[in-house]
């Protein structure tokens, strides 16, 4: 019994550097996804991700406090404490998993957490939905 490969193509949502080096992804809707998902849903996902990354990299009172405290302890607190950024990354991982379960998997898509790609791209794997074509 020959099996079928899970043939898929991939779409890469690139980084948007127009605001500098902050982690932000382009919200431009890729043409390959037009048949699979609504533009608004996709944009909402990417925008939420961008907001989460912005929260991670936000320069504010809390991050300054963390930075100053770290400096005073010769940065040894990084060895024992989870940084704000890491906490937000966990939140992002959870959000992506949730999005995959609720929205993307039923449509034959899979989001890959950008941290696994060095925060370069949001990789969306498109799985061929043969069951639709075969009926």
């Amino acid at each position: 019994l020959q099996q079928q490969a899970a043939i898929a193509s991939k779409v890469f949502v690139q980084r948007d550097y127009t605001s500098g080096t902050v982690c932000k992804f382009q919200t431009k809707f890729p043409t390959e996804l037009e048949a699979r998902i609504e533009k608004q849903q996709f944009e909402e996902t990417i925008q939420t991700l961008n907001n989460l990354y912005a929260e991670a990299e936000k320069l504010g009172g809390k991050s300054y406090l963390e930075g100053c405290l770290a400096c005073l302890t010769a940065y040894t607190i990084f060895l024992c404490m989870e940084t704000h950024y890491e906490k937000v990354l966990k939140k992002i991982a959870k959000y992506i998993q949730e999005q995959n379960e609720k929205v993307y998997a039923p449509l034959g898509l899979l989001l890959t957490d950008p941290i696994e790609r060095g925060l370069r791209v949001v990789e969306i794997t498109i799985f061929e939905d043969r069951s639709i074509g075969s009926r």
Binding site: Q3, A6, T18, T21, G67, T83, Y85, R117, E128
Partner: protein, 442 residues
């Protein structure tokens, strides 16, 4: 039941299950130890403590730096401090001790921390990027180099394509030829610390050089005070030197290093205040007029804000997953097959094949099974359908209509799921997959 399902996915594995050692697997099975990603890291780095510590391959003069600091400080504590404590105050060794700790800790952190290395692009990304370059007229293509222009805060910034890492470098990223890595916010490769200085360890480096300047100045001051006090009275300065020869050593070391440490601290304070890197400053990337900060799109236009952003900003995570585990048998096969599969791709495998996507799969499969019209499917088919909602159920029902693409042997059935990225499988490149797809559609 699960094993049966996996064998259905990979028919070649029926004959050659992953547990059967092949010639390439012998070396792997010898150790029976899952390998960590640092063991196959492509850059020129060395790892210690099972991937916890990363240094450049050429450690430069780090041992010399550390040696000088430790020896000078120890000599100071042994030979100068007792005199100074009795004649002046106990605060002297306390302050020196704190500074010494600061210096050593920040030096080790600068040397052993990932400076902000960017993992190299995976083959699918590379294919995608190259396709975009070929198709798009707006991207400048001159062999070599490839560049892409973007606008950041009103300034035109050129992103260069890195041929080693096979990606367009983000802004402020540079490729270090010594470490063979692209490093974010690349400042410079410092031989004294034996590592690159980049986004993640710049604050450690800055604290190191500032505290080192304080320590050097402090020791120099204390030694001169010591010798002066000793030479008071009838004793001459020369006799004081003879009585405390260690102080001579400290004097020489501190005198020669104070110029460079103070100079470096001053220079980097200027860089921090203008939110520049050494690399940008040397290249003159943003200098319009001498001493002007204007033109730098990354500056927050305020010295205090820039300092806070650079030194007290959030600590970004390491993007290279040094201590993550590799799937046991991806690497030797991919190397042997000659494909450019990157070991870091396996991270996706590991993460994708953990409980979350499996649960996801089962959830979706259950829902698709409910909707499926293939109620007449045999138990075997139903089994397959349950696991592979997106595989062709029709192929089971009407095999003549579709072309099956046989999979190569999976090396580890436990990991093999339809969600596994196809390129991980040996011999199948993305192009091959897409070609097969096109063939099936036609």
């Amino acid at each position: 039941m699960k094993n049966c399902e996996y064998q259905q996915i990979d028919p070649l594995a029926l004959g050659t299950p992953a547990s059967t050692p092949t010639s390439t697997q012998c070396a792997k099975n010898k150790s029976h130890r899952p390998r960590r990603k640092w063991e196959v890291f492509p850059g020129r780095n060395r790892f210690y403590c099972d991937g916890r510590i990363i240094v450049a391959r050429q450690c430069g003069v780090l041992p010399l730096t550390l040696g000088l600091i430790v020896v000078t400080s120890v000599l100071f504590f042994i030979f100068d401090c007792p005199f100074l404590v009795t004649h002046l105050t106990i605060c002297i060794p306390v302050v020196a001790g704190v500074l010494f700790l600061f210096v050593v800790i920040t030096l080790l952190q600068t040397s052993f921390t990932d400076p902000g290395i960017l993992p190299r692009a995976l083959p699918e990304e590379v294919t995608n990027t190259e396709r975009q370059i070929d198709n798009s007229g707006s991207v400048t293509y001159r062999p070599p180099p490839r560049t892409k222009e973007i606008i950041i805060n009103g300034e035109v910034v050129k992103l260069k394509y890195c041929f080693t890492c096979k990606m367009f470098r983000p802004p402020r990223t540079s490729h270090c030829s010594l470490c063979d890595n692209c490093v974010e916010r690349f400042d410079h490769h410092c031989p004294w610390v034996g590592n690159c200085v980049g986004k993640r360890n710049y604050r450690f480096f800055y604290t190191f050089i500032v505290s080192l300047s304080f320590l050097t100045s402090f020791i120099l001051g204390c030694v001169i005070t010591h010798l002066t006090l000793r030479s008071q009275g009838d004793k001459g300065f020369l006799q004081a030197l003879q009585e405390s020869p260690a102080s001579v050593v400290e004097l020489v070391v501190c005198f020669f290093s104070i110029w460079s440490t103070l100079g470096l601290s001053g220079f980097h304070t200027y860089l921090v205040a203008s939110n520049l890197t050494t690399n940008e400053d040397i290249k003159g990337s943003w200098s319009t007029k001498r001493g002007e900060e204007s033109g730098n799109p990354y500056s927050y236009n305020g010295i205090f804000r820039n300092c806070c952003a650079v030194l007290c900003g959030p600590m970004p995570p390491s993007l290279i997953d040094r201590r993550g585990f590799l799937p046991p048998d991806v690497i030797p096969r991919t190397v042997a097959s000659g494909s450019e599969l990157h070991p870091f791709m396996a991270k996706n495998d590991t993460n994708m094949c953990t409980q979350a996507p499996k649960k996801l799969l089962e959830t979706v499969a259950h829902s698709s099974l409910v909707h499926s019209t293939c109620t007449s499917a045999t138990p075997k088919t139903a089994l397959v359908t349950q696991e592979f909602p997106f595989n062709s159920v029709s192929s089971m029902l009407s095999p003549s209509n579709t072309t099956q693409v046989p999979l190569p042997a999976a090396r580890d059935n436990r990991r093999s799921t339809p969600w596994t990225r196809p390129a991980v499988r040996e011999g199948i490149t993305q192009k091959g997959m897409l070609d097969a797809y096109k063939y099936q559609v036609s």
